[in-house]
């Protein structure tokens, strides 16, 4: 082009030059590899050397992580809300359990069926989201959660009523440790999909839709279709989490899927882990479940009767407080810590601070 414009002076940014150039040296890569190997070894050692074997709790944590990632798609990527995730998870769980024990299919068929039906129910809810917005839509999701909890999940033919629906684990994976392996593989697959989602056209489209439907449409993004897409993806993740949940318990009943047991803790894990922060969410899911496991032991040393008796409550109450503090002071949640580490592992220099997370978007509850 013939003409040149004066370049406006831009303020220096911490972000400049992080994408290109400055590749780490071989020693730098070795250090990064070392950290990954060390983390993997510690995890394996933990699973295989633990006397009080906690694989079942770990499986529960992995299921919680997948469920929270499902919420992350809705809240973090699409800017929608779900206060009825007990229905999302429950639909997946009961579908899988029904397919396994009533239709005599394998666990894997149940898992796929749970994912599909979970996705479909979410898309139906998404159709409502296209018509009702904000607080009113939050109420719709709340209502949907209670419809699942109090009516659908109590219909005897589908869910076995009060006795529940058995959901046996797959052959060869009936022990807690073997079943944990299945859960970890599922989590890995979900994380990989989530990574590509954000890095490809759908993730960018959702970011635009979340921030400004007008800008998104101007970029050629079908706002309605991508809103439904986000609901579908969230529902599929939730369906997978539900199916894994069912077989982790080996029998599911309606009372497992209440607002207080599922929707609220899942939302708290998503928020404290950090919106759009996969690493933070998985980490806090582990902390949340293992906290309930280890807190009584810790309390025994401290001779604190109350904590020993109420470990679950203490973890939940603390997490609730953490969620509020997160929203006020550190919208990136645990992502504040995990994101810089993740970037470093990918070969960028270690820069502490948020980028592209809730904090960077100025999410704030303060006026």
């Amino acid at each position: 082009m013939a003409t040149t414009l004066e370049r406006p002076v831009e303020p220096p940014s911490a972000r400049a030059g992080t994408d290109r150039g400055q590749r780490p040296s071989p020693a730098g890569w070795a250090a990064r590899g070392g950290v990954v190997v060390a983390l993997a070894l510690i995890s394996l050692l933990y699973v295989f050397s633990n006397k009080e074997f906690r694989s079942d709790a770990l499986a529960a944590a992995v299921v919680l992580a997948i469920g929270a990632l499902s919420l992350n798609v809705l809240v973090g990527y699409a800017g929608q809300i779900s206060l009825g995730h007990q229905a999302f998870i429950g639909v997946g769980a009961f579908t899988s359990a029904y397919v396994i024990s009533q239709s005599n299919q394998s666990f894997y068929v149940g898992l796929v069926a749970g994912a599909i039906v979970g996705g479909l129910q979410a898309v139906v809810l998404g159709l409502v989201a296209l018509r009702v917005r904000g607080l009113y839509f939050a109420l719709v999701t709340l209502a949907w959660g209670f419809v699942g909890e109090n009516s659908i999940f109590r219909s005897r033919g589908l869910t076995g009523g009060g006795a529940g629906q058995p959901a046996p684990r797959p052959g060869g994976f009936t022990t807690d440790r073997a079943y944990l392996l299945i859960c970890v593989i599922a989590l890995t697959v979900v994380l990989l999909i989530d990574w590509r989602l954000v890095a490809s056209k759908a993730g960018r489209a959702l970011q635009a839709v979340r921030e400004s439907p007008q800008v998104a449409a101007n970029y050629g993004v079908n706002v309605r279709a991508y809103t439904l897409f986000a609901f579908g993806v969230s529902g599929v993740y939730a369906g997978i989490a539900g199916a894994l949940f069912a077989s982790q318990r080996t029998n599911v009943v309606a009372v497992d899927f209440t607002f207080a047991l599922i929707a609220l803790p899942y939302l708290i894990v998503t928020v404290v882990g950090g919106l759009r922060r996969r690493g933070g969410i998985v980490l806090f899911a582990l902390v949340y479940i293992l906290g309930q496991q280890y807190l009584p032991d810790l309390a025994k040393h401290l001779h604190n009767r109350f904590i020993i008796d109420n470990a679950g409550f203490v973890v939940q109450a603390t997490s609730g407080v953490l969620a509020i503090l997160t929203l006020i002071f550190q919208p990136d949640g645990l992502g504040t810590v995990t994101a810089p580490i993740g970037r470093w592992l990918k070969g960028e220099p270690f820069v502490f601070g948020s980028r592209g997370g809730a904090g960077a978007e100025g999410l704030s509850v303060r006026p």
Binding site: M1, T4, E6, P8, L192, I193, A202, A205, Q207, G220
Partner: protein, 268 residues
């Protein structure tokens, strides 16, 4: 052949007749100006053309096809690239990310294929980056590539927005006050730059613009809107001296040249 024709477009908001019977025409590779005082309905006309508003009567014909019933994302995909008066960018994303999102309708892989990491999606991502870089380089914006949009100056944002509009691969570029936030010198250069871009990207351009020298420099033809109606149309120099245009902008009996001289006096 016309790239864009509007026929008798009219839209009313409650008691306000924002546009009535607007008929205009943008020919292939033409740069057409749309001017008029504040509140004349220029941006409303843009919103009708790009599909954000549905006019109550009238038709929008784009590249020979009636697009009146199509949503804004479809019109964007068909080749309308638009910038907004108050900057239509994803502010939390970087300049590069905006350039990638803007190429949405030209991405060959499906959303699900991208999510599952298909090899073609990964190859396409690389091409998108290359194309984004090429456009940024052409507009001398490549040094801003990795900066978040939030925090850039207003004048810079207007230029980044032109880059994203080009990234949508448009046949018709609709620019809403591209020179706002720029100094007179920059605005003048923008005129040369638009002429160059027209050749480079084989574009037709319709632009809302207040900066008179820029309109005179770049536009082949000018439409003047006032109170939602076309006041007049013609070649830039003719329109500039049209008594009704002068009256509409400055009130009765104040010749434009005199007012310009006064303004120059005041700034000195």
């Amino acid at each position: 052949m016309s790239v864009l024709e509007t026929h008798d477009v009219a839209i009313r908001f409650g008691g306000l007749q924002a546009l009535s019977g607007v008929t205009l025409d943008v020919g292939e590779f033409e740069i057409v100006g749309l001017i008029g005082p504040n509140g004349a309905g220029k941006t409303t006309a843009f919103n009708c053309i790009t599909g954000f508003y549905r006019p109550q009567t009238g038709r929008i014909v784009f590249k020979g096809e009636d697009v009146s019933e199509l949503g804004p994302h479809v019109r964007s995909a068909r080749g309308m690239g638009r910038t907004f008066q108050n900057v239509g960018l994803v502010k939390t994303a970087s300049v590069l990310e905006n350039m990638l999102t803007a190429q949405h309708s030209n991405v060959s892989y499906g959303a699900v294929a991208g999510m599952l990491g298909s090899p073609s999606s990964i190859a396409t991502e690389r091409e998108l980056r290359a194309r984004a870089d090429a456009i940024l380089q052409l507009l001398h914006l490549d040094h801003l590539r990795d900066l978040p949009v939030r925090g850039l100056s207003y004048g810079t944002l207007k230029r980044v927005e032109i880059a994203t509009a080009l990234a949508t691969d448009p046949d018709l570029l609709l620019l809403d006050e591209p020179s706002s936030g720029m100094g007179p010198e920059e605005a003048h250069q923008l005129g040369d730059e638009l002429l160059a871009l027209r050749g480079e990207f084989e574009l037709s351009i319709l632009m809302i613009e207040h900066h008179v020298p820029l309109v005179l420099r770049a536009c082949d033809y000018v439409y003047v809107l006032n109170f939602g109606q076309l006041l007049t149309e013609g070649l830039p120099h003719d329109v500039r001296n049209h008594p009704e245009v002068v009256a509409a902008y400055l009130g009765e009996e104040a010749p434009l040249a005199e007012a310009e001289a006064e303004a120059a006096e005041a700034t000195r």
